[in-house]
């Protein structure tokens, strides 16, 4: 048995164990309103998936969160380049980034609701969670660009674009990947939380909020499972996009 197969089997076994714990707990409680079983949750999720609205809701939530994450990645990289070059910019931006990381997300959601339209809040919040992580990691990556390679570029008078694409970007990429690994889940969860509080039309958050409001616990569980599965999917796809071909030499 190869290590990969063994790892997959172990993951499945762990998953089955916790599903069993969940099923036993649901049987013990014996009330679907308080704790639906995995089977009831799966049935509800399947019935939700049959409705056209489900896919529209999922697509629009994903679009909102991904737009926020993408904007934060672009802005985070640009700001890191700026603060790497300018000590003044770094001095001005560092406390803002610290503030973003330490302020509770709910405070920002309420503020954003005052400033922005309800559909824009999840975009803004997802981006806000990802931005400081991307900025901090890319800044570290820029500091750690090999000075010997930069000297080489200076001696050979390499064009700026080539220095950026061939030396700086590959040096920074591992730090960006690491930022995305830790920030994607954060952005996704914060985006959904923002949807719950702002209830934009066709959003997972709105459905979670309404499930809670009407005591539809099974539906709440079904949407939560959908969120977890989508989070896993998004993380895999985005990391694949950033990493491209696995390259052991980089």
């Amino acid at each position: 048995m190869t290590p990969d197969v063994r790892k997959t089997l172990r993951t499945i076994a762990v998953l089955l164990f916790w599903l069993l714990v969940w099923a036993l707990a649901a049987r013990t409680v014996g009330q679907e309103l308080l704790l639906p079983s995995p089977l009831q949750t799966a049935q509800k999720l399947l019935s939700l998936m049959m409705a056209a609205d489900f896919w529209l809701t999922v697509a629009r939530t994903m679009l909102r969160v991904l737009a926020g994450i993408l904007a934060a990645v672009v802005l985070g990289v640009l700001l890191a380049l700026l603060t790497h070059r300018s000590a003044l910019a770094r001095a001005l931006l560092s406390p803002i980034m610290t503030l973003l990381k330490s302020t509770p997300v709910a405070s920002f959601i309420i503020l954003a609701l005052v400033w922005l339209g309800r559909s824009a809040v999840p975009v803004f919040i997802a981006g806000l969670m990802v931005l400081p992580v991307v900025w901090a990691n890319v800044s570290t990556g820029l500091v750690r660009v090999d000075p010997q390679l930069m000297e080489l570029a200076a001696v050979y008078k390499l064009p700026r674009a080539r220095i950026l694409s061939r030396i700086i970007w590959p040096s920074v990429l591992p730090y960006l990947r690491s930022a995305l690994r830790s920030a994607l889940g954060l952005g996704w969860k914060a985006g959904i939380a923002a949807e719950v509080l702002t209830v934009p039309p066709y959003s997972i958050g709105k459905n979670i909020f309404e499930s809670k409001l009407y005591l539809e616990t099974t539906e709440l569980f079904a949407w939560t499972v959908a969120v977890v599965l989508l989070s896993f999917l998004i993380e895999r796809v985005l990391l694949l996009l950033v990493e491209g071909k696995k390259d052991s030499h980089a």
Partner: protein, 195 residues
């Protein structure tokens, strides 16, 4: 091509360059010889404008400069060919030129290998191929043949010598034989000054 005028440089208490003057014309070849740690590398770094001197001035008329450092300084995420091509156009059209230089330095089997897959001596030859491929007007070499076995070293020196044409060469070496094989005028260097 290169003029160093009254250059002084200290690191803390240690003075590595002391009111030093050096003139290198197009096509001229100069080898700087001296014991380890005497400041040869610092002198080359000043010549390449990688190190600002404490005093003195540098005039360099070369449009194209190339250097081989004591370390190969290859991009770990690029193959040998791509590392050489980096100083050409970095486009696919100049890859054959990059490969020609690798072949001349007996690295025909290493085109698509990454630096981590090459021995130290092979990496140093890729670095040499990159410098020669740049067809520089000024070539600065800092102990470039280190780590090569005797027979290979001779062949590589021959390739470098044949490739220089009107290139001005500034070489730091411990080996008088290397300097002579490249037809260099030898300047002996100690305690921050030429003897």
């Amino acid at each position: 091509m290169l003029e160093l005028i009254d250059i002084s440089l200290s690191f803390g208490e240690k003075q590595v360059l002391h009111h030093l003057n050096l003139s290198l014309k197009a096509g001229e070849r100069i080898a700087i010889m001296g014991p380890s740690g005497c400041g040869k590398t610092s002198l080359l770094r000043v010549a390449l404008s990688l190190q600002l001197p404490d005093r003195g001035s540098i005039q360099c008329a070369a449009e194209r400069t190339a250097a081989v450092f004591q370390e190969p300084r290859l991009l770990p995420w690029r193959t040998a060919s791509e590392n050489v091509n980096l100083v050409l156009s970095d486009r696919v059209e100049t890859l054959p030129t990059a490969r020609k230089w690798l072949e001349r330095l007996e690295l025909g089997d290493a085109f698509n290998l990454y630096p981590a897959e090459l021995s130290g001596g092979m990496q140093q030859r890729v670095s040499l191929a990159r410098a020669l491929a740049a067809t520089p007007e000024l070539l600065v070499l800092d102990e470039p043949f280190k780590g090569l076995d005797e027979a290979l070293r001779r062949r590589v020196i021959q390739v470098v010598g044949e490739s220089l044409n009107r290139t001005a060469l500034l070489l730091a070496t411990h080996s008088e034989e290397e300097a002579q094989a490249l037809g260099c005028h030898i300047l002996r260097y100690q305690d921050g000054q030429f003897l």
